[in-house]
């Protein structure tokens, strides 16, 4: 199945709820009035778009409706799609991972699916012909390294791990040395889940990033925040605080196959200006794919 088909497939429910609701709103109204906007506000907020972004979208919509003298509720739908697509498309440039080795550090709060995503990201880069090495720097959660080990076996790539409770920076240091010796193309670092408001844990993360920068000052680096798509407005604070301490380059959105909404993406694209790199739409090893904003926006409304 192509990525597009898969994404559409994974999003069937999202798409259905989202656009069916929007469609029903449009067909229920014969003219464009305040009541229609109120209905739209409700739909957007219920999709986790967030209050601020919803206001922004609706202001834009009102503006365009006025300027173009749109009177048919049906036409409004297309304008709405345009506005949302524009927000999503604005951050789509990509980081190149060309140096040997290059590094991806994966961070996020607990339970968003970091380890699983890493397994899938490793599989993706391996399919591009890259030699991948995993660093099990989640030394805190019980059996996290075992879980990553199983993924390494599935994907068939190298892994560097220490014992539970070891210093995560030391794991990363060893992984980078191993990558240099073995000539790996890409090191992907797993890190322990941590809530962004825990200062000490965020300091630990900064130390990991420092270690990478010191050992590989000229390497291409990507620091990815994994976000659970069922997360509400807290996703924005998460992105903000993780960005402050690690300098994020992109986002991975997981569990998009489960939630009926996808709105958090729109809110995030609007407020954090961080590009979404990958989307998780299922449990299989190839159910994580690069994010294409245009396709995503289209898939939502088709």
């Amino acid at each position: 199945m192509s990525f597009f088909a898969k994404l559409k497939n994974g999003l069937t429910k999202t798409k259905k709820e989202f656009s069916e609701k929007i469609n029903s709103v449009f067909s229920a109204f014969v003219k464009v009035d305040e009541e229609l906007f109120e209905e739209l506000e409700e739909i957007l907020i219920m999709s986790d778009v967030g209050f601020e972004t919803t206001e922004y979208i609706l202001d834009e919509l009102r503006d365009k409706v006025k300027k173009s003298r749109i009177e048919e509720p049906d036409e409004i739908k297309n304008v709405l799609i345009d506005i949302i697509s524009e927000i999503l498309i604005q951050n789509s440039e990509n980081v190149q991972l060309n140096t040997k080795p290059s590094v991806i550090i994966v961070v996020g709060v607990n339970g968003v699916g970091k380890t699983t995503s890493i397994g899938k990201i490793a599989s993706y880069y391996k399919s591009l012909g890259k030699n991948v090495l995993l660093a099990a720097a989640d030394t805190f959660r019980a059996a996290a390294a075992e879980q990553l080990q199983i993924w390494a076996e599935r994907v068939d790539c190298d892994i560097v791990r220490h014992n539970e409770g070891a210093d995560p920076s030391a794991v990363v240091f060893d992984a980078i040395s191993a990558a240099k010796n073995r000539g790996s193309d890409l090191v992907i670092c797993d890190t322990a889940g941590r809530l962004h408001n825990k200062k000490n844990l965020m300091n630990e993360l900064e130390k990991i990033v420092r270690t990478v920068n010191r050992e590989l000052p000229d390497a291409d680096k990507e620091i990815l925040l994994v976000l659970d798509a069922t997360t509400g407005q807290n996703a924005i604070t998460q992105a903000k605080l993780f960005d402050e301490s690690t300098g994020l380059t992109g986002l991975v959105l997981t569990k998009l196959d489960g939630t009926a909404k996808g709105g958090v993406i729109i809110g995030l694209a609007n407020s954090q200006k961080l590009p979404v790199r990958f989307v998780g739409v299922g449990e299989q090893i190839d159910d994580l794919q690069p994010f294409n904003p245009e396709e995503f926006a289209k898939a939502l409304f088709e």
Partner: protein
């Protein structure tokens, strides 16, 4: 910033209200608009917010408020009462089956924190001298069984596992095993699943029908957005839930999902996960949560924790010492150790009323510093602890070397102690106490 948490938001609303002598209808409306915004940013379900606001506004614009002498207090009271009502008024405790073992089935989406919570519940029951069997029914996620074994051994609970085999069979055999071994509590750790995954939801039904658990718990991440309601509804309709466990409440996304689920599904919250340690699990007290949301501090939880940690006899003795002004460094050390039992400092401070969460953000209470303080006092002789005044320069140098600290740190501690003694003198002076009484009556709402 628009995404400050609910407490901060409501605080700013009520600060505005408190600043005025009287509150009129438009003030109430303005306040309620802010409350609405705050609730939405806290991910409370849109429909729940709408209902909440209209019913709170209706009550607030009543004669009572407008004619009351302290309208701000009335509005706070109404919003708080509404919140409490929404969340249920009493704490919910796990139902214990009259015939052992009591079986609890944990279920939820992936990554909600089920496995960790299983161990935390075992730790909760072990404090009541009940032994627990954890059952590894998650056969899908790599290393999930391993994880349960590790956390189980950390809390001293047995773990039952049959490796990768039918979860229904695992559950049935585990309950039999517990019955034969006289184990009080059985906790089933099921795999994370989507509420729309028919196959896996059916698996839960089969486990439920086979072992007939005492209670079914939905584990939910406190950060969940608007979808929380759909998830809870689906699990309730397909499996049936008795209560919800809210995890990761130590993050800054508290509130939203708790309110929505209570309002829409009508099921209570039984536990909340408050931290990374395996005993960071609290019962959920709706009224306290409402207080906390309103920035009134979770005083009751604090009192509970204090009661758990403090020995009453010691407290009486301490009071005597303070009154007779014989409080010395040994007592100081005692206090320190008791505080440590109550949990991390920043958690405790967050529960105090009047402690602004914003201020706490920058403040990072370092538990290691507390350990240093302990080391310094422990490096003193008994005589030094009783009579700190004899600690001269050469004694200080010895203490610093003995505790692995610096002279400056020893000096700082001694100074701090001196100030504390001074403060205690003021407390025991009746004239000074009057001032404090005036202050506390001002604070009472």
């Amino acid at each position: 910033m628009a995404f400050d948490n609910l407490t901060e938001k409501l605080n700013s609303v009520f600060k505005k209200l408190s600043g005025k002598g009287k509150v009129n209808e438009s003030d109430v409306k303005e306040a309620m608009r802010m409350v609405k915004l705050a609730l939405l940013e806290a991910d409370v379900n849109f429909k729940v917010v709408k209902n909440f606001i209209s019913s709170a506004t209706e009550k607030a614009i009543g004669v009572q408020v407008l004619e009351s002498l302290t309208p701000a207090q009335q509005v706070i009271k109404i919003v708080k009462e509404e919140l409490t009502e929404l969340m249920g008024s009493e704490a919910y405790k796990p139902v214990i089956s009259p015939k052992s073992p009591s079986v609890y089935m944990l279920m939820g989406l992936q990554g909600a924190g089920k496995t960790t919570t299983c161990a935390k519940i075992a730790s909760y029951f072990s404090k009541q001298n009940k032994n627990t069997l954890l059952v590894a029914c998650d056969i899908y996620r790599p290393a999930a069984i391993e994880q349960l074994k590790v956390v189980g051994s950390k809390v001293g609970a047995d773990v039952f596992s049959l490796g990768v085999s039918d979860p229904v069979k695992i559950a049935v055999e585990a309950v039999d095993y517990a019955r034969n071994k006289d184990i009080d509590i059985v906790i089933l750790d099921t795999a994370g699943r989507l509420h729309i995954d028919e196959g896996l939801m059916e698996e839960l039904q089969r486990i439920r029908d086979a072992v007939n658990p005492t209670e079914l718990y939905l584990t939910l991440d406190a950060m969940t957005g608007q979808d929380a309601v759909n998830v809870a509804k689906s699990f309730d309709e397909q499996i049936g839930i008795d209560a919800t466990i809210l995890t990761k409440l130590d993050g800054d996304a508290r509130g939203g999902a708790a309110l929505s689920i209570r309002a829409v599904v009508g099921k209570p919250i039984v536990f909340c996960g408050m931290g990374e340690k395996l005993d960071d699990l609290d019962l959920f007290y709706p009224d306290r949560m409402a207080s906390r949301i309103l920035g009134m501090g979770d005083v009751l939880t604090l009192i509970d924790k204090a009661q758990e940690a403090f020995d009453e006899k010691q407290a009486i003795e301490l009071e005597k010492k303070i009154r007779s002004q014989t409080f010395n460094l040994n007592d100081f050390l005692d206090q320190f150790q008791q505080m440590k039992k109550m949990g991390p400092m920043d958690q405790l401070l967050g529960m105090l009323p009047g402690v602004d969460n914003k201020a706490l953000k920058g403040l990072n209470v370092d538990d290691r510093k507390m350990a240093q303080t302990e080391a310094i006092i422990k490096s003193m002789t008994m005589l030094e602890r009783e009579k700190p005044s004899i600690i001269d320069y050469s004694r200080r140098k010895r203490i610093a070397a003995g505790s692995g600290t610096t002279l400056t740190q020893v000096n700082a501690l001694l100074k701090q102690f001196e100030q504390m003694q001074k403060m205690m003198k003021q407390f025991t002076n009746p004239k000074q106490m009057k001032k404090f009484k005036g202050l506390s009556s001002k604070l009472g709402l």
